[in-house]
Every structure is written in structure tokens, then in C-alpha cells.
Amino acid sequence: MTDLKGTIEWMGSCYGVDIQAGKPVIVRAERTRGHVDFFPVTQNDPVFIEGIRSGKAAVAGSLTAGESFACWLEAPFPAFQKAVKVLPTLLDVQLPFPLEDCIYSFIEGGRDDAVRMAGKTRAIAVAARTAEVQKKIETFSAFGVDPVVLDQEGLAIWTQSLAEVPAGKNSTTAPRVVIYLGVERSTLVIGRGTEFVSAHGMGQGNTAQIDRLLKTQLAAGQGGAGIQWMWAGPGAADALLLKKLGDSLYSRWPGSSVVHDKPETFLARAVAGRALLPGPLRCNLRSGPLLHPVIARKAERDVASTALTYLAAGLLLCGINVTWDLAVKHRETALDKEAGALAERLAGSRAVSAKGSTRLKMVRDAMSPRKDKMKPFMRNFEPSLAETIAAMTDLARKNDLNFEILSISRDKINVSGTAGNWKKCESLKDFLKQKGYTVKLDRKESLASERVAFFIASTGEGKVNE
């Protein structure tokens, strides 16, 4: 797991180094709240020397457009994850040397609607021969520096130029040409709007080559829009050189011209800024077998940290389950203990060992004779049967009922008599039902007086006894 997309985001600062004619141009980059500040540093700066010596300072450099390359590839799959499986083969076809000798990575290209509609994916392949990367590391080593990140110069120049002078809102397809004028060499980066097109290494101020490259890359589709010329690098500080190049180029490729601020540290700023901040077109060609130990260790730490997170999740899961199990057992034991103690109080020690409904039955059976013995005491506090008799006679008076025989005891009420009509009998039946008795109402033969004779037998404890 070493795909860190070229950034060393976990670090708060780093040094960007651009080696020009055997001399390093160094900037210190410090990230604060998503913004990077740059400070020029000399090779003899004691903080820089100490940082390099202790290995605490990370250095970002780049491979020139001549030592590496970035080119567009198109794969016949709509998903990048699928396309990335065939991209190495597509790249291999374009290379004059074996892919196995290269360090490479693929960056997902812009969401071009036409390409997407065709079910394809565009990607930028960034590659360099392993030997070139090794050589670059050795070049840095000569200055006592071990770069953590080796960026691709063309992409670094392009994104830094856009970061410092953003493309206008209405110039999504307007051509932009960034020329990095080094001490001994130049780099030409061509793009449209915000989209990178190509990068080329060349000799210092080779206008004929620039002209030729622009003709092949921009002639089609320029649509008459002027070119935005951007200048950077130590050579951009030379006004005479700029005038000479401009005179040669602007007549054939008219447009506006801008020189980046502090052009001599432009590339150092670009690589340092890209190393600290995530963003588009990030890459690190120091990967694979040449991966810097700092990144390898970080990757290992990340893996260990992920493993620790999973371990913590696993432990938490086990912990929650064990706690739940214990809580359930504890609750069950507590309930059983309380029920056992209560059962023992009510029925003696016999009932403690029993469980559930058996325990309840044992308690009920044990309590029953005791309750029977105490019933006479309880009756003195229960409503009297006389109250029921009074309520029934009151009901009889109101409903035209004549009782002939009324027999009432604690578990039985029998009434026989006559009523004005059948409905009146029902009122007595309802009254007894309300009292909690099971009532059976029998109608007898109608009498000569046309009154309805009835007999009610009701059984049960009734609310009389509660």
C-alpha cells in the first residue's frame, strides 16, 4: 500500500529543490490551514542542513520533462478502476523500452463528456525509466539530499502555473503555454483551459522547436483564441531573453504574456506545494523499488493503524457481546433471586428451588390453607352481603320486579319472582354480571296477571367479597 498519490500530506512542511546547472534552488514550504507558504532557503541554511542531517526534513524534487514523460491514454472502459488494468499494456505499446524498466503511474483524466459517452476513460500516464530515477536520486545525493518525492516536472509546472495564475472563467478551452526557462534547458508545457495537454523538454530558447510543437498540439481547435503565454524559471527574470523569445513567438502565436512571480524559485515551489497539498495530477516517480523509506514506513504505519482500528472494532464487538451476555445473566439471576426470596417468604424454602409456573403453583398451594384460616378475619373488612341485598331491592323497586324468594350467600345468589316484562329481568341479570357473578336467567310460564315469572341462578365469588 504505497499509493500516496505523490503527496506527503501528513507532514506540515518540506523543502522543494530544483537543481539548475549543478546548483540547487531551495524553498521551504509550510502548510497552515490548507494553504502553503514558501520561504527561499540557501544551501548553507543551518536549519536546512540540520533537517537534512537528522532526516527530519522531507525533500521534494522532480524529474525533468526529458528524464520522464506524461502522456494521455484512452482505454475502452467507462470505469477508471477497470481501465487501469489495461493502461499498462497501452503504455507499453508506446514505449521504446520495456515497461518493466519503468516506474509509472496513471492519473484519471478529466470527465470529457464525448469520451464518457463513447464508454471510454482518459488517463495521464506518468513514467520514467528506473535508471533515470536512480540517477536523479544520486544527483540529489551529491548535495546531501535524499528526496522523498520525485515529481514529474511538466505536471508540476502546469498545476503550479494554474494555482498562481488561474485560468479565466470563460477560457475553458483557451490555450495556455507555460515555458519554464532553466539555466541550461527549457520545458514547454501546453494546455487548454485547466486541462494539461503535453510537456516537452528542450534546449534553452529553442523557438523553432516551440513553434513546431505548438503547430502539432494547438493548431487544430485553437479557434482563433489568443495564447496565454506564461513564463517561469530563472531565465524568465532575464528581460532581454524574454524579449528575444517573445519577438520570435508572438508574431506567429499572438496572445497575452505573464511572467510568474519569483520565477527563479517557481519549480521548487511547485514540487514542494504539490507534495504538501492534495490536488489534481499528483504523482511521485520515486516509488516501486526506489520508494523512499519514509513513505514505506508511513505506509506500514497506516497499515498497522488500520489493523489496530479493526482490532479495536473486533475487541469492542466482543466486549459489547460479553457485556450483553453478562447483563442478561445478571438480570436473570437478580430476578430469580428476588422471586426465590419472595417465594420462600410466602411458601417456605420448598418453593425456592422450583422455577416459573411450578414455583407459582407451589406458593399458591402453600398460601391457600393459610388464607382459608384467615378468611373470617378478612370478611369483617369486606362489603357486607346486606349491601348487595339493599342494591337488589332498590333495583327491584325501580324496575317493577317482585322477588318471591331471594337467597344470598358468599358464592351464590338465587332469585325467583315476577317482572313487568322480560326486559326488566335483564336489568337484574346485568347488575349481577357487573358484580362478577356467572348468571343464568330462566323464564317461566307467563302468569294470568301477564307478569313474567323468572328465576336467576348466579354463582361466583362476586365483587361482594372483594
Binding site: 506500514e300 498497522a304 472494532a313 422471586a339 419472595l342 410466602l346 399458591r364
Partner: protein, 165 residues
């Protein structure tokens, strides 16, 4: 032990705990319905036992209150009957048995009255039931007289507790 070995061990431990944890979760989820049912039943049983305890407490409280009463014997029913129904005779009342109840006696008396106003009979019952050591109506049979409204034959079975000597 290098860093790679440590990481491998961490992954192995994480895998073990995650598998065990997941297994336990699945098992507990399967058990949860049964556990919930079991707990609900245990709670219901406990509630039933508490109701039984409260019921028993009511009985015991009733006995205690009776034991606190200063009177040892219930008032004789003859006097109360004479007060309420002067026309009644003493031989209307007869013993209907008694039960021994651990230091107490449950005494029963049956009172038969012919052609008495039912309201008066009930008044007698009310008086008997409101004594300090009260009588209690255990059974009552009323036969209405054919043409005399509100009168008839009344048979009462009264019970009272009495402290054994």
C-alpha cells in the same frame, strides 16, 4: 520482532476478534428473542408473586387489627334483635356451629323470623355488623309474604369471631 511481523500479528488478532465478535453478535441476535421472552416471563412471575404477597399482607393485617380489638366476645344477638324487632322471640336464634381457628372461634347463629318487615331485618344485620367485634352476614334467605308488601320470612346466618379463653 520487526514492524511487518507486528502488523501481521495485529491483522491476525483483528481478524480473530472480528470473526469471534461477529459470531457472538449473530448468536446473541438469535438468542435475543428467547432471552427477551424469558425475562418478560420472569418479570411477570415476580409481579404475580408480589401481588400474592400483597394479598397475604391484607389477610395478615386484617387478623392483626382484629387481635388489637379490646372485646373478646361479640355482643349477644338477642339484645340487638329485641332492639330492632321487639316482636321477635329469643328462640328465633339457634346455634349453627363453631370452628376452632388458632386462638379464635368462628361462631355461627341462624336467625329465623316470620312475617317481619325485610327492611327491619336488614337494619338488624347492619347493627350486628357495626359492633366493635362485629357479626357478619354469611347467608340470607328471604321469602316474600304473598300480599303484604315488604314483609316475609327471613332466615339469616350470622358469623362472628370470638377469642378462645
Amino acid at each position: 520482532m520487526n514492524e511487518k511481523t507486528t502488523t501481521r500479528m495485529l491483522w491476525a488478532a483483528a481478524a480473530v476478534f472480528l470473526i469471534v465478535g461477529t459470531g457472538m453478535t449473530v448468536s446473541n441476535l438469535r438468542k435475543s428473542a428467547g432471552v427477551s421472552e424469558r425475562l418478560e416471563k420472569n418479570i411477570a412471575d415476580l409481579k404475580t408473586l408480589r401481588i400474592m404477597e400483597a394479598d397475604m399482607a391484607r389477610y395478615e393485617a386484617a387478623k392483626k387489627m382484629m387481635e388489637k380489638l379490646p372485646d373478646k366476645h361479640p355482643v349477644p344477638l338477642n339484645g340487638l334483635l329485641q332492639e330492632t324487632l321487639p316482636a321477635s322471640k329469643g328462640d328465633d336464634i339457634r346455634d349453627a356451629g363453631k370452628d376452632e381457628l388458632g386462638g379464635w372461634l368462628v361462631r355461627r347463629k341462624e336467625i329465623s323470623m316470620n312475617d317481619v318487615p325485610v327492611g327491619k331485618a336488614m337494619e338488624f344485620v347492619q347493627k350486628a355488623e357495626s359492633q366493635k367485634l362485629p357479626w357478619c352476614l354469611a347467608r340470607c334467605v328471604i321469602r316474600a309474604a304473598p300480599r303484604a308488601g315488604g314483609t316475609g320470612q327471613v332466615v339469616l346466618l350470622m358469623e362472628a369471631l370470638e377469642k378462645s379463653e
